[in-house]
Symmetry: C2
Subunit: 497 residues, 2 copies
């Protein structure tokens, strides 16, 4: 009789679907679950918003039976890690899959397609003023080129959504993960993960594993997903240069009172040469050289440069002929923004009182965030500036011809896992049926050094979203084909043994 | 009997007061009339606000019997001139006294003492957060050091208020002007007076005179009022430099995609040398040399430099040792403001898509606004930029390594009246009982060339307000001692024959 019962069960149950089939059959349902998550503001500095996100994700995981819980900081004030698990009896490995649910700050007035936390659906890349389309019904067709516009649509709520949908896909297939699966969603990655080390230490037992798989970042500009074995580090700084203690009429004082906007321009211009090479003394000194295997991996990447220049409207690039892939394996210095008084219609005929720049320096293996910051400070000092970490007092303004306020705004070192580590090898195999770019390091930054430092855990990064996703900027979006393919890719990774 | 009637009249009427006595007896009443005028927003681009100002001033003039009227532009859309007159039968001269009632644009969030159009009274220079004092009663005492904070408190509604109060003072003395008095208040001086030429032409008959006396600008930094025989001209420009067509993640693209903030910094830095001298080719070529008389007048001015450096918190100034007085008689180039993406707390790790600067160039006799602008454009071109007057199209972005958008934002030439012109001589005599600084030109700009061009009228500028008045910036204010002394000075000028 037993065979008969099994046969009846098999006939009654839906036929097992592959992850690809399940995803394609459930496109509208995935989008309908994703939009409310994107509607919750998630700038890490707003702890109420962050907690609403965490609770919402907790509920999504509860519906999937992942035994979720919030992993809190000592005093409960930090954005919690949202944790879930799918234990697999008899599995030989335990792996953590990670994404983050916070997003970069927003300047709503700069968003031209839709407000940052009113996710809107379009049938392709959208133009300002274009009306979004309606939410599709459960069974409506959704094309690969459709996009959702919202803060974190790609970076990195797409990771949260895709990991949870991959759990559904795996279950629809009747399968289980090939390893003990743990899931961790972080809530302040874009703020530099100031509490991650303490959280990992506090919950070390629960988070023990044989490695972490980070789902974050855009696919390669040439199209395929990227498997990256490391990330650049980051050292951020705010720089303010001072002029007269109050703004002055530019007619009555012009070309007598020093103009801080001009002083800042001169100072920034002194930091790079005309080829884009950073001229700060010692800037490239600490770089750990790439191995022959890593150099070979870099050389195997199809250079995206020409296509990107076309797409981005660039008539020239920096780097003396090196490719983008070469350049992201070097430290960088970048001006994130400038501000002094007002411009355009709001400009007034003044000598501003101060001028400000925000700067980020990306680090590679060997660089230290503080050491790189100290080099920046030394460079500014060498240009004749008194360097302070606060606004100058009146007597200092009178004493020093040039004053800069330079503050360290956080950072962390780079991280890199060896290309022949077992974790790297098995993820590469799990994704091997599709085109794949393998890179020693991505250009972006994640605090992956902490996984090594706190948990001794090797890690790899899987980057899946459309490269033209405007992450970190206004009009962030995700292309739905990338989201759906990403779910299948994560399900394939979950199935690996 | 006639002597008895005259004696009785003299005993019945209040004793004639000197302008000084009248002003001191009416300090509170003057302040009470002034505050409502300051409460009317007066940015020239808002034509409804401007018309409310004009109507309000018209009513102030009507109360004084000055037969006021609004002098409109052809289609009635320009800010009107507010005109009034006090004819003096038998007078040998007709003179116009001028001020302007519009003000510079405001960024309310930057105002730390009081909102720009909620005038507030303080017992001295105010600190942020300090509460204002109550409006004094009609007979309350008001000290010289008290200040009113509001947009245009100095620049130049102080001129409007002081001219009308001087009419009262003259009348209280039982006097009349020493000439046919005409009064003109302009409503878009801070916007570059785009309609003034047409207005002067349209109302040429009414505005015929032997000269104009302009009441505008701050007293000398060393304290005394200034009589200036000219003004610098102005040539304003907006400059935008372009990077990638959308903001990029600075990790994924940093040091490959050109950063427009850094390109703008390099471009601005190329415009001046380390002593503040402008390096744009031909920048100083057209300057009409100062005459020996003018040079002697400049040399007679007490150099305010050391005191100003102390007050403004400056450890160094530009100009290779030349004084402020020397330098305002030369053309200048000044950065009014910078903007690219965001800074500080709102900064994101992006490569901005564009970076912008607003620039003003002050002109002296001999300079032409367009010619100076063309030199700026040529300089930018010489730095390798394709210079456009509009945003670049995509094919232009791809074609040119560097693109700048440079737009001419208006301007006009300098003007200067000879030091021994009869108008200059009589105003100098009228003010001669007090300390007075006489200067060939002020540093600021007014469209005085139009008076010469349209009406053939010589002109002088009387500058009376406290030099630390923050005009053109946030927290603009007027020191009431300067306002009251200014009224007396204008009454003395009105009395001159």
């Amino acid at each position: 009789m037993r065979w008969l019962i099994l046969l009846l069960i098999a006939l009654a149950a839906p036929a097992p679907a592959t992850p690809r089939e399940w995803v394609d059959a459930n496109r509208a349902a995935i989008v309908r679950e994703y939009l409310p998550l994107l509607a919750i503001p998630n700038v890490a500095s707003n702890s109420e918003d962050i907690r609403r996100n965490a609770e919402h994700i907790l509920a999504m995981m509860e519906r999937r039976g992942l035994a979720p819980r919030l992993l809190e900081s000592e005093d409960g004030s930090a954005p919690p890690l949202v944790y879930g698990e799918w234990p697999v009896p008899g599995a030989t490995r335990t792996l953590v899959i990670y994404a983050h649910y916070d997003g970069q700050p927003v300047t709503p007035s700069a968003w031209t397609i839709a407000p940052p936390f009113e996710p809107a659906l379009f049938t392709g890349a959208a133009a300002p003023g274009q009306p979004p389309i309606a939410l599709p019904g459960e069974s409506d067709a959704i094309e690969d080129d459709w996009r959702i516009y919202a803060r974190s649509a790609s970076d990195d709520k797409a990771g949260v959504m895709a990991i949870l949908a991959a759990v559904d896909a795996l279950r629809a297939e009747g399968g289980t993960p090939g390893f003990n699966l743990k899931i961790v969603f972080e809530g302040e990655e874009e703020a530099g993960s100031p509490n991650l080390a303490a959280l990992l230490r506090r919950h070390r037992e629960l988070l023990q594993s044989d490695g972490w798989i980070i789902v974050d970042g855009p696919a390669h500009a040439s199209g395929p997903p990227q498997l990256t074995l490391g990330v650049r580090g980051l050292s951020s700084a705010d720089l303010t240069v001072y002029g007269p203690v109050r703004p002055l009429h530019s007619g009555h004082y012009g070309n007598w009172a020093p103009n801080p906007a001009m002083m800042l321009a001169e100072l920034l211009a002194s930091m790079k040469d005309e080829t884009g090479r950073v001229t700060i003394a010692g800037f490239y000194d600490d770089v750990t050289p790439l191995t022959a295997v890593e150099l070979a991996a870099i050389d195997a990447v199809p250079p995206p440069d020409a296509g990107l220049m076309e797409e981005l409207g660039l008539g020239a690039v920096e780097g003396r002929g090196a490719t983008l892939t070469d350049l992201i394996h070097l430290p960088s210095l970048n001006v994130n923004g400038l501000a002094a008084a007002d411009v355009g219609e709001n400009a007034r005929n003044v000598i501003p009182s101060e001028a400000m720049a925000s700067i980020d320096m990306r680090l590679v293996l060997g660089n230290d965030p503080r050491r790189q910051f100290d080099r920046l400070a030394a460079h500014i000092r060498a240009q004749g500036f008194e360097v302070l970490d606060r606004a100058p007092a009146m007597d200092e303004r009178r004493r020093f011809p040039r004053i800069a306020r330079l503050t360290f705004e956080g950072g962390y070192p780079a991280a890199r896992t060896s290309l022949d580590h077992p974790l790297a090898r098995s993820v590469r195999e799990a994704l091997g049926s599709r085109p794949l770019i393998v890179l020693p390091s991505m250009g972006g930054s994640l605090p992956l050094y902490l996984l090594e430092q706190e948990l001794g855990a090797p890690n790899v990064v899987v980057a899946l979203w459309n490269h033209d996703n405007n992450q970190h900027a206004e009009d962030e979006n995700v292309r739905l084909g990338n989201l759906f393919d990403g779910i299948v890719a994560i399900a394939d990774i979950m199935a690996m043994e």
